[in-house]
Every structure is written in structure tokens, then in C-alpha cells.
Amino acid sequence: MSRAAALALLLAIGVAPRADAIVHWWQPGAVAGFGGLRSELQRLADSEGRARLNHFCAVVQDVREPPSATSEGDRTTLSVYWREAGRILSYGPSSDGRLGPGNQDEGAGIDLRYDVVATERQIAGSTNRVTRAFVDGIIRHCRMSGTRLLVIRRR
């Protein structure tokens, strides 16, 4: 997909980067720092899952933009949509290449039951609420460019 097409798609679904940012979406296995995904999802299903079958979709967002006072600059973030739990989890890259609970960005997690609102106005200052368009954008990118995994809870 061309950069122009990617930007048009991002704008259409509400995940707008800065004008000078370059954004790519990748399968986790294609990006350094996000290895061991299945093991981490198994840990999640075993420790926090309630359903026996757990459907996950994982995608890495790779943002390239100049650092500034309000941007860290280049960054990669793994988003994991967990259908049965109704959550989107967020991970930063691991320095040893394998994901673990320490790489999870708890503050960036989204609980789809409580954290999603229709409009930006309804965010109303919240640290964690996000718009439906934002969530739909992540899930759509995951289905287009990410990896889907089925994990059976072991206990």
C-alpha cells in the first residue's frame, strides 16, 4: 500500500498520525522486539482468561516521526485484541526480543466494556477513554495486516 493510500485509510478510520508521520502496520513476527507472542498469549489466557477458547488478533503499529516536545518520535507498539475478554492490550518492544508481562503497557490498555465512547467530546478529559473510531481502526488494521491466534486455556 502506498503512503498516500495508508494515510487516507488512517484518516478515514480516525487514527490520524501527524501530517509528517509515516505509519506502517506489521505482523508481530516481522518486527524486532515482539517475539514469543504465542507464549505471552498463553500466559494471559491461563492467568486471566475465563473462556476455554481465546481468539486474539495482534498487530504492530510502526510510527516514524521527528521527536518533539509532544512526541517521543519513532516508536513501535503491539496492540492485541482479545475478543473473549473484551480488551485491547498494548505492549512495547522487549529488549531481549521476547514478550513478557513486563512489556505490557498497562496504562494504554482498553477495556471495551467501559472505555469506549462515540465521540471525542465524550472523552471529557479522561486518561483512558477512546472513541469507537479509534478502536475500530486498530481492529481493522489487525484484520488486514496482523496475526490471528487461537489459544486454548490450560487451566
Partner: protein, 167 residues
């Protein structure tokens, strides 16, 4: 040995909020101790600035920081206080446990990180340059603005802090 203040106290709740929301040493190369302390101090400013005008933030009866942090949907599942779900607090609990476990590979770093959270929650005189930013909200970088009348003032360790836009 380090422990957090009791959950029933403003300091104890703020310490848990800061540790939940800030990058920890487990982030490896993306963790910066000074910047994480700065992020936690800015979070303290967010809570303090909301407490000056609690009605604006949906907390007209708030008398302390607990009344601000526990407003529904403003700080995630902290709105469920005092019954914070164990999985929600598992990360913080694990960090404190590591800080008190000399055999943990992150013992020293987590000890410092937890101490930094206590510092941010309890210090009487926060840095003036951070106070001057007048932060009233923060968002994960890339998650969008907290609303239409906010302006981003700084991004620290993956969180963008916002002040009220002028006019």
C-alpha cells in the same frame, strides 16, 4: 524493604496510579528513570490541578485526591475503588514484590522506581517547571486528545500531558 502507603490514603492511591500508568524498568531500553519520575510528578500535578476545581472534573464533592482519582471513567478502573480488581493491580503488586526481592533481576531498578512513585505522591514541593505546565490530563501517545479544549504540552515516557487550551 519498601511498601506503598495504604490504599485507603491519598498517597497510597496516587502511588498505585503512578506505578500503573508509568513505564517501569521492565521496559528495558525504553525506560528512563529520570523521565519516569518526571511523568509521575506530572501525573501528581494533573490530580492536584483537578482538585483545585473538582466540579469541572465531575467530582464536586471531592475533598482529597481520592475523590478525584475514583471518578468513573476518568482514570480507568480506579473508578472501581476501593474494590480494585486483583488482575488490574497485579503489575503494581509484582513490581513492589520485585523491589523487595534481592534475587530479582530488576530488584534495584524496581526499588528505585517504587521509591520514585512514593516521592512523586508525597513531596511537598514539586519542581516548579512541571507545575508551570498546568497539566490536567494525560493520554497514551497516539490515543488522541482528551477532548476539544485541550492542548498537548509535553510527552514523557509514552504519555502525552495536556493543559486546558487558552480561550
Amino acid at each position: 524493604m519498601i511498601d506503598l502507603h495504604p490504599l485507603s490514603t491519598p498517597a497510597g492511591l496516587m502511588e498505585r496510579l503512578f506505578l500503573h500508568e508509568t513505564r517501569s524498568p521492565a521496559y528495558g531500553a525504553r525506560y528512563d528513570r529520570d523521565e519516569s519520575l518526571k511523568a509521575m510528578r506530572l501525573m501528581r500535578q494533573v490530580v492536584a490541578n483537578r482538585l483545585k476545581h473538582p466540579r469541572l472534573w465531575g467530582a464536586p464533592g471531592a475533598k482529597d485526591e481520592i475523590g478525584i482519582i475514583t471518578i468513573k471513567s476518568q482514570f480507568g478502573q480506579f473508578g472501581l475503588y476501593p474494590n480494585l480488581p486483583p488482575p488490574f493491580m497485579a503489575h503494581v503488586d509484582a513490581m513492589v514484590a520485585s523491589a523487595n526481592d534481592a534475587s530479582s533481576s530488576l530488584h534495584a531498578a524496581n526499588l528505585q522506581h517504587v521509591q520514585d512513585a512514593v516521592t512523586a505522591a508525597t513531596e511537598a514541593d514539586p519542581p516548579a517547571d512541571l507545575v508551570a505546565l498546568a497539566a490536567v490530563s494525560w493520554r497514551t501517545e497516539g490515543h488522541g486528545s482528551p477532548g476539544g479544549n485541550f492542548r498537548a504540552v509535553v510527552t514523557v515516557q509514552g504519555n502525552t500531558f495536556y493543559a486546558i487550551a487558552a480561550g
